[in-house]
């Protein structure tokens, strides 16, 4: 089955899609999933007859989670390998550094981007489809919170944010919405990764009676905070955790203690858009997972966008591809998207909560898979 498409395309020169991913180093865990998502897309595309009738193939470098290397490899892909298309990189710092390179070489670059700031640099060839936009991350959560009767809403927030571009971008919606909803931010601190100890954080939050807790961090620091919260018996009405809580390992490590945490996302395996079922089935079969991991979906979605643009432009000419993207709608697993002049789609506002061992969608209402649990039940 795998060998077949090769025979079919034997005569056609493949379209080479190049770039680098963090396959080792700090961001490797996610990089590997992105790679799998992209590969899945390639297999699917090739099975359907390829792009413009040509098979696609990847040339993936390992940038070792090093932004400088990501830049070098992007240039290598473009100028040495002379790839036909550039694929989107990860994480934000690398994307921030690669975006100007793509711009200089005039290659369309569909990626997570480096949050809002990087989309404000005036690049013409960069698209976030979907972007991993910290500024939008909690949008859905707050939209939902607004529907909670005012007297039931939390009054005081403790906000702990990891000190990097992702963390910083998360603050945007928190600041906007807490003002609007009249929630006082009693604690607003940043921390450098790795987190040495979460107990004092929880201790302070508990002392100040903060009844909503924002943990704007990654997986392992998130786990440490939840553990400390349980240890100190800290029971806010809601715990909102940035990025860590939607990875499968969250529940594996925390079990029931990890329940009821809210988070945001820009795509989700329970969305009803076409394609999600297929991805879920694939990871179920291949990796024994219920629902595809988020970054698998990202890798897939970015390629989906790029692929549609190539098909739409009927050409590998980068400017044509770009112009097509500017003018047309793409259909991705996280919904249809059109792009503004920054290269961004409409704000994406999905909100998730972990309920009974599943990451459920609770906002927007039309996608809701389960009713939110609020306030969070106390520990044990």
């Amino acid at each position: 089955l795998v060998a077949l498409p090769c025979f079919v395309f034997a005569a056609e020169k493949p379209i080479v899609i190049g770039g680098s991913l963090p396959l080792t180093g700090q961001a490797a865990e996610t990089g590997v999933w992105i790679e799998r998502g992209m590969k899945f897309w390639a297999d699917e595309t090739n099975a359907k007859g390829g792009l413009l009738g040509r098979p696609v193939e990847f040339k993936i470098y390992d940038d070792e989670s090093n932004a400088q290397k990501a830049v070098t490899f992007a240039e290598k892909a473009i100028t040495v390998d002379k790839v036909d298309l550039l694929f989107g990189g990860y994480p934000g710092t690398a994307a921030r550094a690669v975006m100007p390179v793509a711009e200089k070489h005039q290659y369309v670059y569909v990626s997570m981007g480096g949050h809002m700031k990087s989309f404000e640099q005036g690049y013409k060839f960069s698209f976030g489809a979907p972007p991993l936009m910290g500024e939008w991350w909690y949008e859905g959560f707050f939209q939902w919170l607004e529907t909670v009767p005012p007297d039931k809403r939390p009054k005081k927030a403790a906000v702990y944010t990891m000190n990097n571009p992702i963390g910083g971008s998360l603050m945007d919606s928190i600041n906007r919405w807490t003002k609007k909803l009249n929630i006082e931010i009693a604690i607003d601190e940043r921390y450098d990764l790795p987190l040495p100890d979460a107990t004092p954080m929880i201790f302070k939050a508990k002392q100040m009676n903060c009844d909503i807790f924002f943990a704007n961090g990654l997986f392992s620091d998130g786990v440490m905070m939840i553990r400390a919260a349980k240890a100190l018996d800290y029971n806010p009405k809601a715990i909102v955790q940035g990025i860590g809580s939607i990875v499968p390992a969250w529940l594996k490590e925390l079990g029931k203690d990890g329940y009821y945490v809210f988070s945001g996302t820009s795509l989700h395996n329970k969305l009803s858009y076409p394609g999600n079922d297929k991805l879920n089935a694939y990871v179920k079969e291949k990796f024994k997972l219920d629902g595809y991991p988020e970054y698998f979906g990202f890798g897939y979605a970015w390629m989906q966008t790029l692929g549609q643009a190539v098909e739409g432009a009927k050409s590998l000419d980068q400017t044509k591809i770009r112009d097509w993207l500017r003018a047309n709608e793409v259909k991705t697993i996280c919904g249809p998207m059109t792009f503004d002049e920054k290269g961004l789609p409409q704000p994406i506002n999905f909100c998730t909560q972990i309920i009974d061992g599943q990451v459920e969608l609770i906002w927007p209402e039309k996608f809701r898979t389960k009713a939110p649990v609020y306030p969070k039940p106390p520990w044990n």
């Binding site: 070098t72 240039e75 040495v80 710092t93 550094a97 100007p100 571009p165 910083g168």
Partner: protein, 332 residues
């Protein structure tokens, strides 16, 4: 040293020829990637060579040199953005940026250079961390978001070529400075300090001042290089330009090549960058780095004093004789 022996002249001629070819390279229309790659090679030569002035000549192993690189990068970008500098202005701005790095080296060198051996290594490491974290926490420096700098409004191969030439120029200047120091009175003083600072002082070597001077010089070039690098990357972030791995890498490069001469860091930086690149092109990254690790072991076991020493005609090296080993507690 005015030495006009034929072999010397031959070498000078060869060096000029190689330089000429290198300078010509980016204009021959090679893929931009190779220009960028050589740019990185030059950058590491600059970093390793200038590190070697304090680390190799004076024996003060600074593990915080990336701080000067980062300071240069930030100073350049801040200057360019605040003063709205033109491309030429930005390029020229790398020089004051280097000076700022050197000035900071003088300020922190004053207390830190009083420490010896591994203590100095660690305090400089701490310094690099402090600067890294501090920059990350100051929002006027872009904080954890990093800073952007406007790139040159030129086609990419031209702008890359310009930056290439700049870095090449800086490399030549750094190497010349390092050579000059090695054969000068200043260099002799540094060697004496490396061997035994107390003894050096009895020979009237003004050790505190020499060390600070050496530290400042060795901070200046990385500062300039940082500025050029920032311009090359157009986006800088503390995690990129203050990455402690760069510190460690440049120390290794210099020692790998052999720290006692100016040639060592040149050889070390070139060899390691090329090997790294070659490996990551042909082998899967994990295995590439396993090979890379083996390389260090092989080099150290077979060439314990660096590549250069290994190929040098050997003076008979004495075993550390044990007569009169200074004993702690006894007076100097």
């Amino acid at each position: 040293m005015p030495d006009n022996s034929p072999s010397k002249r031959y070498w000078v001629f060869a060096a000029v020829f190689v330089l000429f070819c290198l300078a010509l390279f980016p204009w021959l229309g090679p893929p931009v990637y190779f220009v960028s790659f050589l740019f990185t090679v030059f950058m590491y030569i600059v970093l390793a060579t200038s590190w070697n002035i304090i680390g190799g000549y004076a024996g003060y192993l600074s593990f915080g040199h990336v701080a000067f690189f980062g300071i240069g990068a930030y100073a350049t970008v801040m200057m360019a953005n605040l003063l709205n500098l033109s491309p030429i202005g930005t390029v020229l701005g790398t020089i004051p940026s280097g000076a700022i790095a050197a000035l900071i080296a003088v300020i922190i060198g004053y207390p830190c250079l009083a420490l010896r051996g591994p203590y100095f290594a660690v305090i400089t490491l701490c310094f690099a961390f402090v600067v890294h974290l501090a920059v990350k926490n100051f929002s006027f420096l872009g904080g954890a978001d990093g800073l952007w700098i406007k790139s040159m409004e030129l086609p990419i191969h031209v702008s890359r070529a310009i930056l290439f030439e700049l870095m090449l120029g800086l490399t030549v200047i750094t190497l010349l400075a390092s050579m000059r120091i090695a054969s000068s009175k200043f260099g002799a003083g540094l060697r004496a300090i490396k061997e035994d600072e107390d003894v050096a002082q009895t020979m009237a070597v003004n050790a505190p001042r020499l060390k600070i001077q050496a530290f400042a010089v060795s901070a200046f070039f990385p500062g300039v290089a940082g500025g050029i690098f920032a311009y090359y990357l157009t986006y800088i972030h503390p995690d990129i330009v203050f990455d402690v791995n760069i510190s460690i890498l440049i120390v290794l490069m210099a020692l790998f090549g052999g720290g006692t001469s100016w040639l060592g860091p040149l050889v070390g930086a070139t060899a390691l960058t090329f090997i790294n690149e070659g490996l990551s092109t042909f082998v899967k990254a994990e295995f590439a780095r396993i090979i890379y690790g083996c390389l260090f072991i092989v080099v150290i076991v077979f060439m314990p004093n660096g590549i250069i020493e290994f190929f040098k005609p050997r003076k008979t090296l004495p075993e550390e004789t044990s007569e009169d080993v200074a004993q702690p507690g006894s007076a100097p």
